[in-house]
């Protein structure tokens, strides 16, 4: 298998990891009762969303 294929597979795995952490943050955002924490989760989610949309 050539290097590019291996790299692409690893890259796809990275997108799964990104999705996993994004979902974890969404869950935390939903369950938290603290406004400050909710704000923090929301802001941290931004780069994860942008990466999944392949914008940055």
């Amino acid at each position: 298998m050539d290097m590019l294929t291996i790299n692409s597979v690893v890259m796809i795995l990275y997108y799964f990891i990104t999705t996993f952490f994004l979902l974890a943050m969404v869950r935390n955002f939903i369950v938290t009762r603290d406004v400050q924490e909710a704000l923090l989760y929301a802001v941290v989610m931004i780069p994860f969303v942008l990466r999944l949309l392949r914008l940055k």
Binding site: D2, N7, V10, A42, V43, M45, I46, L50, L55, K56
Partner: protein
């Protein structure tokens, strides 16, 4: 206010931040730069015509070919190796839009690492675009990063082992189009790009390859021509002539180190018959010590913090209130290439390359760059291309 309302407001706020940022990034990524090739254009090929290594990738660049009526030498100009160095692609495009080869051939690629021009460096607050006013309106280019974006080449290896030397380089340099020469057919994006470029250089039997760059004033290799040993006589003569007759700030010369791999000045000369040159000019925007990072700094090259560093003798290039304007930087690169050709014509007359239509140092510094870019809306459409 209950927690659900607060969360809704937060979500709206974060969502609109993401939407605004996302649309700005998307606009940057999708913007195409118009290029009006000179009337002496022979043909435009794709880099993938030389090797399938880049087929279907973002780095499958336009290759502008200009054949003179009389045979002679062939020069290949590489722009946009590091898209955070705008003068590199601007200098190349000055040739693409104005060149009239009288003898020999010119092959230009305005952007060899398009991927790196589609996003700016993370965490640096770089502007996305830069603009130059022309007699017919404002022309716009993408500003970019030094490295190909991780969207196109990811992940990086733990340690980047350069092919074929086996030298260990920093991991992110596998996305640096000036660390992946001579490249490999089945490597990562930049390795493939440089492999295809090597194929172009070999198949077109290039005699001279010029790689345009800019560097921070804090960096020791500044305002200089770095040359493969094959070109030392030409580069020495060109640097002396330019320093003596044309430039206010001298241009030096450096030998390409034999043991430092992946760079164009080393590998292109080693892996082809071409003589490879790389030229550097001062770009204060790249200095770590700079102040406000905006388009104004990028274009004017004026920065009082960098000037202060100069007062403390921390820089390898002079700088004063007049800064390092983009016109002067571009004029130096264009004049350097023209002088190298002139000297090369004397030392290797069988490889003569005579170019007309290219503005000289004075014309660029006095008239600005805008005068040398044509209006894509009025130009014949068969000469308009997008990079």
């Amino acid at each position: 206010m209950n927690i659900r309302t607060a969360k809704l407001i937060i979500l709206l706020f974060a969502g609109s931040c993401a939407a605004i940022a996302g649309s700005l990034f998307k606009e940057h990524m999708e913007y195409k730069e118009a290029v009006v090739a000179s009337p002496f254009l022979s043909e435009v090929r794709k880099l993938s015509d030389y090797s399938d290594a880049v087929k279907g990738s973002v780095n499958d660049a336009n290759v502008y070919i200009f054949n003179g009526p009389t045979p002679g030498g062939t020069v290949v100009l590489l722009g946009g190796t590091h898209p955070e160095e705008p003068v590199a692609n601007l200098s190349a495009q000055i040739f693409t839009e104005n060149v009239h080869p009288v003898q020999g051939r010119v092959i230009v690629i305005n952007r060899i690492n398009t991927s790196a021009s589609m996003a700016t460096r993370m965490g640096e607050a770089y502007p996305r675009f830069y603009h130059i006013s022309t007699p017919w309106g404002v022309k716009k280019w993408r500003y970019g990063d030094r490295l190909a974006t991780p969207l196109h080449s990811w992940p990086d290896p733990e340690v980047y082992v350069h092919y074929p030397s086996g030298q260990n380089l920093a991991y992110m340099d596998v996305r640096n189009a000036n660390r992946t020469w001579p490249g490999r057919h089945d490597g990562l994006l930049c390795e493939r790009t440089n492999y295809a470029l090597m194929e172009l250089i070999r198949k077109e039997k290039a005699d001279i390859v010029m790689d345009f760059h800019e560097a921070e004033l804090e960096y020791a290799v500044e305002n200089t021509i770095v040359v493969h040993e094959k070109g030392q006589s030409v580069a020495a003569m060109a640097s002396m002539m330019l320093t003596s007759q044309t430039f206010d700030v001298p241009i030096g010369m450096e030998f390409s180190p034999k043991a430092l791999h992946g760079l164009s000045h080393r590998e292109v000369g080693d892996h082809s018959d071409a003589v490879s040159y790389l030229v550097e000019v001062a770009e204060p925007m790249l200095d770590r010590i700079r102040g406000i990072t905006d388009e104004e700094l990028l274009m004017s090259g004026k920065d009082r913090f960098v000037m202060k560093a100069g007062e403390y003798k921390l820089l390898y290039s002079p700088i004063d209130e007049s800064g390092w304007p983009v016109e002067k930087r571009t004029a130096r690169h264009v004049a350097t290439l023209m002088t190298i050709l002139q000297v090369n014509n004397m030392l290797a007359p069988e490889k003569t390359i005579i170019l007309e239509g290219i503005p000289d140092y004075r014309e660029i510094t006095e008239n600005g760059l805008g005068a040398f870019f044509q209006n894509p809306d009025e130009a014949p459409q068969e000469r308009v291309f997008y990079d």
